[in-house]
Amino acid sequence: MLGGYISDLEKGDVFRPAEYVLTAFMVREYAHGCEENWEGFHTEDGRIVRPPSMVHVDKMRILEVNTLKETRIKFMREHTPVTSDPRIHYEFHVINHSPAYVGDHIVVTGQITDRYLKRGRDFLDYHLEVHTKDGRHICTYKDKTLLRYRPYEETK
């Protein structure tokens, strides 16, 4: 179910798209944060290219517009205390199709492809597609998140 908490998401939920313009600030901050200094990010056709792993930020953005009771970006910025069990990112899987350049209008779409219990733990599977507004395919992203971390002994 959309519009609530991340823990309300269900298999088959189709996200409302998230859109934004990729700025040099965003790319700079992300690249600095992961100490990525590959020269080519500055020189591809004279344009700045984002590190492909930045698709993880796209996941945060699409959740922000779809889980309105748990706006993670807003909460993180405002240091809102988190009262729920922590979520654990379990799997990252990106397939790159073309670079995302500074100035590109990015459109993130996707859905929840599965939600299931495994060994007493609640998992959520995401499938996102990232395109430019004029239709160029940037990447496909799949993600697996453990919704509520508790030690294994407590899940029995």
């Binding site: 700025t23 901050e29 992300y30 600095h32 992961c34 792993s53 240091h79």
Partner: protein, 148 residues
């Protein structure tokens, strides 16, 4: 370092070791938040930045965001494949063990397959991270089609 087009099955990629300091973890989390909202932002308390909070929620200690290890795996791939990775590469990581703060993380890769395709040479690799005891903390694989 071999050129990407010359890689063969069994070749090891040029990995590296980084120290997972609390500063690095906070640095990444704040940068990710800043990139997400388009403005300079500072991350607060979470399982990555606060030891007490992490233990309160059943974790043995504060640990690194899984994306930090993925970013470092990506750095290794960028070094070898450059824009070919950005244009056609694939990277998958599974965060199989929490990476504690104040520990070393060793990024590694090894070529597992080489296949000529109409688009170029498809290089398949195992990509992973170990701690300094050789215990695998992050598992994964990658593929890149080398065009030059």
């Amino acid at each position: 370092m071999k050129k990407a087009s010359e890689l063969q099955v069994g070749d090891e990629l040029e990995g590296f070791t980084k120290w997972v300091s609390p500063e690095r973890v906070e640095w990444y989390d704040s940068a990710m938040l800043s990139a997400a909202c388009g403005e300079l932002s500072q991350v607060g308390v979470n399982i990555h930045t606060d030891e007490a909070y992490a233990k309160e929620h059943g974790l043995p200690s504060a640990n690194a965001d899984g994306m930090i290890s993925t970013n470092w795996c990506q750095t290794m791939l960028m070094k070898h494949f450059g824009m070919d990775f950005v244009k056609s590469g694939e990277l998958r990581n599974k965060y199989i063990k929490p990476v504690p703060i104040h520990s070393a993380l060793v990024v590694k890769g090894k070529v597992t397959g080489v296949e000529q395709t109409p688009l170029g040479k498809l290089i398949s690799m195992a990509v992973w991270c170990e701690n300094d005891q050789g215990v695998k903390m992050v598992d994964g694989d990658a593929k890149v089609t080398v065009t030059s």
